[in-house]
Point group: C2
Chain length 140, copies 2
DNA sequence: CTGTATCCCATCCGATACTG
DNA sequence: CAGTATCGGATGGGATACAG
């Protein structure tokens, strides 16, 4: 194994003076958000919409993912209870992945994030270009 | 400067056989999702709700962030047009950060992600514990 | 087909010191 | 107060080879 799957987080949340939400490093929320934020998890969840997919199918669909990282990512999502892994005892082996009910609820939220991104990508690209241009040619 | 701010992405999207959405590595969507997914951006946007905050105030509020990473993160968000940086020419300097209109629209989506996480953290923690227990004590 | 194990490098990012 | 510069350790993740 590799890439620590442990490191226990604390449990209490918002114990301070009720600011907004717990921003402490070891907070559960941060632990989970870090998972969402890794390079591939969000992609996998977004792809596993209402149907199940085989390992190779996922690998083909997600451009650039290595076999290793797909395995690691799927294991983490399975551990989190977001993805269900089904092994068919045939040869050659067949393994299907699908979202659990919990995973489906997350899918919706993630989908809205993807939609937001698609919708505003032009604005962001424009903003970046303007920012870079301004930095390259100071007012003088 | 540091940590590449360039690396131009391609523009077309979903040019394949109209699968779902472009999962290619250099897609705009991926570029932006990577930003969302970095260690601190999501935190900063979530925190900058309807009010502006000073640099030090952000630093105090976000547990564990270094001065360096707060600066880097804020610069990226400014470049993306999500955060507005206002410098007051006083001494000692005062710099306020607030969400742009674009940033506000993203804030809503991100907030729903944070809410999801808060709501389901117990389920996930339980799932993880069960997974780890099963792994530690195989069926035999 | 679906993994696991190993190697190894790119980058992320924290610590620290210095500046206007 | 609000940065910037530099260094160096940790870690994410790709390439490759091997296995059930």
């Amino acid at each position: 194994m590799e890439e620590g799957t442990s490191k226990e987080p604390s449990h209490s949340c918002c114990t301070e003076e009720a600011f907004q939400w717990d921003t402490r490093e070891d907070c559960d929320v941060r632990q989970i958000l870090d998972r969402i934020g890794d390079k591939w998890s969000l992609l996998v969840i977004a792809l596993l919409d209402d149907r199940s997919m085989r390992f190779t199918e996922l690998k083909r669909t997600i451009d650039g993912i290595s076999q290793r990282m797909l395995t690691v990512t799927l294991r983490q999502l399975e551990r989190d209870g977001l993805v269900l892994r089904t092994v068919y005892p045939v040869v050659p082996p067949r393994v299907d992945y699908e979202l659990t009910p919990l995973g489906v609820t997350l899918h919706d939220t993630i989908q809205s994030l993807v939609t937001w991104t698609e919708k505003h990508q032009t604005e962001i690209a424009t903003s970046r270009a303007r920012y870079d241009a301004a930095a390259a040619v100071p007012v003088v």
